[in-house]
């Protein structure tokens, strides 16, 4: 069963990667207020 725990941890690794990737996207300039409104 321990190996299934390892698989679960890999899922967490993916979620950590998601967190940093999302932060990278959000750091970008969203553009003018008109673009954001669209």
């Amino acid at each position: 069963m321990e190996w299934i725990g390892v698989a679960s941890l890999t899922g967490i690794v993916a979620l950590v990667f998601v967190f940093f990737t999302a932060k990278k996207v959000m750091r970008q300039d969203p553009g003018t207020p008109e673009m954001v409104a669209i």
């Binding site: 299934i4 679960s8 996207v25």
Partner: protein
Amino acid sequence: MAFLKREYKAIGAFAMIVAILLAIGLKERGWHYSIFTAISYLVGAACSLTAGYVGLSISTRANTRTAQAATKGFNQAMSVAFPGGAVMGLTVVGLGLFAFSLVFLILGYLTPGSTVEKMGEAAGIIAGFSMGASSVALFARVGGGIYTKAADVGADLVGKVEAGIPEDDPRNPATIADNVGDNVGDVAGMGADLYESYIGSILSGVIIASLTLGTPELKIKGVILSFLLYAIGIIASILGVFFVRTGEKANPGRALNNGTVSSAVIYSIGSFVLVLVMFGWDLSYFFASFSGIVAGMVIGFTAYYYTSGKSVENLAKASTTGSATTIIYGFALSCKSTVLPLVVIGIAILISYKFGGFFGIALSAIGMLATTGMVVAVDAYGPIADNSGGIAEMAHMGKDIRKITDSLDAAGNTTAAIAKGFAIGSAALTALALFLSYTQVMNLSAIDIMSAGGYKIVAGVFIGAIIPYFFAGVTMMAVGRAAFNVVEEVRRQFREIKGLMEGTARAEYARCVDITTAGALKEMIVPGIAAVAIPIVLGCLLGPEALAGVLLGALATGVPLAIQMANAGGAWDNAKKWIEEGNLGGKGSDTHKAAVVGDTVGDPFKDTSAPSMNILLKLMTVVSLVFGPMILFIHKWLASLF
């Protein structure tokens, strides 16, 4: 996000009702079994909803950031658009594997007995998790599919055809609903679809390993192998993201394909090493899994072949003689496009069975879906690129920016065709693996049509064969009805808002989003209930053997029908775009008008009915699997009455 919130409320209510039905319906197996199945169902559904929410909220923010980054150059725009898609892809697999394995571990610890007994019991209960994923996928795909096409038809029919204004023009009241629809369909819809396949195939691996493999040691190893193959797939997908790199003059399509192929190669090497470590030089399970990777690639690229290049140019040439020849040629092309994928699926089944029996078929599905993270990332990139172009147009950002976003979008269209093919292929293998799990759980060791009860199986096959056609009809008519309301609203705004056509007044975009949302939610009720109720009702009335026939019949017609509709829609769409580039008379010519007819017919084919079919096939099978004990009980009771 407004659509998603309202959709989630509807799904939440539906999920609670189904969870209560599960808890009551399965009480014959004991309260422990039924309550935990209901909880697993809710967790599976909640994870799918969370993945959809995270993916959609990032992709809608990435749209505008990609358009803004395009002002600095192509490479900067690409470095926002693709990570935006990668968030969706890796959330689907990360959350999926994390939650599924955690629930499996908890169920294992709560179940008394040996490790094999724990795994067997947990495998039965966790089928509820897969059904939760399927329920959300059904609504995301059917509701999202109806939404996206109703908005698209409303925007095009009144805006482009009647008012003569271009695509994404800010004067069109339905243009925002149309852009929202792209995200709802291709980001949330595709994510939920592949999340369902992802969970379904690991579930079938776990069930078939714990029921069919010979020794207790082999059963345990089989279950662990299923989980670890997915773990390798996640690592391969993360590494694949780093292979998507472009220079200023690089081809974005090639960069995206590099990522997909790199993930598959890394996964293949990783799975080879894993099988070698676990089973020594007996590499049977590696070959079974590898057959799935190859099948997934071939099916994806077949879809690409039939929806691009020469295929599309020939279809466009058929438009020179009118809309009738456009429809005939497109239909014929889509019929032919089903041949290779079905042959490849057949070969994958033969090879994987040869190497690993029923468990081999489940491993083939796992192999195909292991790199789902990368497939969804590439697919979700498409609407981000598309919408960034729409924003650039609406914000009057200039031709140079539009050129960059157009080139990002062109790559997205190609990869979307591949992902759609992949989604159907993986749905077919997953549904088959789940079907095998159903036969094992219900002790249907041999489905023999020559036996005394064989006529029921044959009847079941015929009944099952018509279900995909019924479903396609229901979903297409739903698009027509929902689109009608949008068309009426856009016409009203053009009529009543003074200065809208001149660009001095602002359209009521939110009103169109609202009407489309309400229409899509209303129209998804019938198909949603039908997909869950049909297998339960038929199973209770005709028995588990006939239900197996129903599932096989639906699978046999549903897969080619889904491939045909997806490829027909894709080919008609791209033929129209090819003419719009200036070929065969270009925009406004009679050839273009004929191509537009083909595209309009193909829209609900490729974006509503075909994706819904993927879900229908998996959901019917997993409902049969989860409700199997109840179906058997009620059927026996009904049989005793007559």
